[in-house]
């Protein structure tokens, strides 16, 4: 069965990052609110989702921009506290505005990036390794608050072995913590929240009743085995793993000509995929 199929002309050529973004864009629910990190793929996913499928989905950014109609494209880096992303918002606030509204339960979804994710959906964006080998990265930024307070969390990350681990080197943003029932509540986090989906350029995961990450769908250009080979710790696997639909030409047109015109998000570490006969094939050597 094909998952997240939409109307349009199936693209015969796209890159994996574009596949990941269109996949999340199709998950955007109309009439719902999204707290998105300012940079990278999450903002493109919500913008594409709004333009194609969910015109009344709204989003807020960490600097308190509420429901903007941004002027596209953004300048490099300038995704917050800048005029284009803030354009035609319904309200301008500050970081505490965003934080408070999320604490109040007003944010349906959060969309995040992360360096590493573990079997309980905990997210690391702080450091990799330990002791002498430890390397400090940027820190959670807003992700800790997004992961704690939005009702459902969508994590966008890469499908790489070292990124899917049993236990992240550092929990920057809370998933289900140690996976025990109510572990989040015992840590003071709001009831009924937590990781919901993980989407990579190759696959989609949800979380089972025991809060373990579970592979539920793959891209048409990879196999389950290939995905699992890129997980240091093997996730649960759904009985039926579905196949995700490929991007449409209409989506790519928006993404390439309006959103990520400089290839900032879609150009990063991303292989190319082409239709060969009736099969989508990854171009190796990327």
């Amino acid at each position: 069965m094909t998952m997240l199929e939409v109307e349009g002309t199936k693209a015969s050529s796209f890159n994996e990052r574009e596949f990941q973004i269109t996949t999340v864009a199709r998950m955007i629910e109309d009439g719902r609110s999204y707290w998105v990190t300012g940079g990278g793929t999450p903002i493109f996913a919500i913008l594409l989702g709004q333009r194609r499928y969910a015109p009344n989905a709204q989003y807020i950014t960490e600097d308190g921009v509420i429901a903007p109609e941004p002027m596209l494209p953004f300048e490099p880096i300038m995704t917050m506290v800048a005029s284009r992303p803030s354009y035609r918002a319904l309200a301008w606030g500050t970081m505490n505005t965003a934080g408070n509204h999320a604490q109040l339960g007003y944010m349906d979804y959060g969309i995040l990036n992360g360096l590493q994710v573990d079997r309980y959906g905990n997210i690391n964006s702080t450091l990799i390794g330990s002791g002498k080998e430890m390397r400090h990265f940027g820190g959670p930024g807003g992700a800790d608050s997004i992961a704690a307070n939005c009702w459902r969390i969508i994590l966008m990350t890469d499908q790489e072995k070292r990124k899917f681990v049993e236990r992240v080197d550092f929990i920057s943003s809370a998933g289900f913590l140690d996976g025990t029932p109510n572990a989040r509540e015992r840590a003071g986090l709001p009831r009924g929240t937590g990781p919901w989906r993980v989407v990579t350029p190759w696959a989609m995961y949800d979380f089972d009743d025991e809060r373990r990450m579970r592979l539920i769908a793959i891209a048409p250009y990879v196999t389950v085995e290939e995905v699992l080979a890129e997980c240091e710790y093997p996730p649960q696997v759904a009985e039926q793993v579905e196949t995700l639909a490929v991007p449409t030409e209409e989506e790519l047109e928006v993404l390439r000509s309006q959103l990520d015109v400089q290839g900032q998000a879609t150009g990063v570490r991303s292989g190319w995929v082409t239709l060969e006969g009736d099969k989508y094939v990854r171009q190796t050597g990327d």
């Binding site: 803030s86 301008w92 970081m95 505490n96 702080t126 800790d144 809370a174 003071g188 986090l189």
Partner: protein, 323 residues
């Protein structure tokens, strides 16, 4: 009511009564002119060892002119509030001005790696909103605030947070210590000579940072008459009595954008990322900071009138940024 868990990181001592006494002794409630040059302001109000908060960052309506001035004056041993920053933490650490950082987010690179490796940098772990909430506690004169995030993370363990039994619900709740920095640097669109300041557009925690801090330096694109402030008091973001110095700083956020006023200098922005990435902060400072006695001189000689006009012209959006 019990403490269920606590982080182990050092944090700036929590002392609301002490802060009140500082305010009483050192902050003037009279309307007094406070215009200073960037040089004077940093010399007088930024001391070695200070806890420093700046709002926004070097690339987005931050007090970039003062960050350069801090590097120029070789301030040492600063403790940085690393919320919503990009390259600033890297620049200040690469220039050996800072030795501690409360981390929300910063752009990482070899400049920071080396400082860690050489044991010159301590990092305590929070997140952006947790840091702005700590500033809000400080800006309310309170010792702490509850927060619904941070709990359960490894950041919690390496922070000043505590998990307590909420005396109202009986449930666990995280509390974080108020933050009252020694000095705040805030870049604004307009201010009068007394320090009444206006920020247009979004921000991170400009009001909270100003009210929470002992010493406050405002850099302003425009100095406006107090009559203008009085004609639209709803636009005042920071009141004069929280402010110690006002620096007239057109293009004070350069190379960053000041929303509604000018866009960023993309080439220079990329150079900043490069400097932090490849541990080239010294060379960056040798090019952009040390050769010049003042930032204005750098803008005149190295950036030039034409480029600055272009950056202004690039900012085509003005709605909401002009009262």
């Amino acid at each position: 009511m019990r403490i269920l868990a606590e982080g182990t990181a050092p944090y700036l001592p929590v002392d609301p009564d002490g802060f009140r006494e500082y305010v009483r002794e050192h902050k003037s409630r009279a309307l007094e002119p406070k215009l200073l040059s960037a040089q004077e302001a940093v010399a007088r109000f930024v001391a070695d060892g200070d806890y420093l908060v700046y709002d926004c960052n070097y690339l987005q309506r931050g007090p970039s002119i003062l960050i350069r001035e801090i590097i120029r004056q070789r301030k040492r041993d600063l403790w940085l509030c690393g919320k919503f920053t990009y390259v600033d933490v890297g620049l200040l650490i690469g220039a050996e001005c800072a030795t501690k950082v409360d981390c929300g987010f910063f752009y990482q690179g070899k400049a920071i790696d080396r400082a860690i490796d050489e044991g010159r940098l301590e990092i305590y772990e929070y997140s952006n909103v947790v840091m702005t909430l700590r500033l809000q506690a400080g800006a309310m004169g309170l010792p702490f605030l509850p927060v619904r995030s941070l709990g359960g993370t490894d950041g919690f363990s390496q922070s000043g947070a505590k998990l307590i039994e909420d005396p109202y619900t009986g449930q666990p709740i995280t509390i974080v210590p108020a933050l009252n920095p020694d000095v705040a640097l805030i870049h604004v669109h307009q201010a009068d000579q007394y320090g009444n300041a206006r920020v247009f557009g979004t921000g991170i925690a400009h009001e909270e940072s100003a009210l929470a801090s002992k010493k406050v330096i405002i850099t302003a694109e425009e100095i406006i008459d107090t009559e203008e402030i009085r004609s639209d008091p709803g636009r005042t973001s920071i009141p004069y009595y929280a402010v110690d110095a006002v620096v007239h700083a057109p293009f004070g956020a350069y190379p960053g954008t000041c929303q509604g006023y000018y866009g960023s200098d993309t080439a220079h922005v990329i150079e900043c990322f490069g400097a932090v990435s490849r541990d080239g902060v010294a060379q960056y400072a040798e090019k952009w900071i040390s050769p010049f006695a003042t930032d204005q001189e750098m803008l005149d000689k190295l950036v030039g009138e034409e480029k600055l006009s272009q950056l202004r012209a690039n900012e085509t959006i003005t709605e909401g940024y002009r009262p």
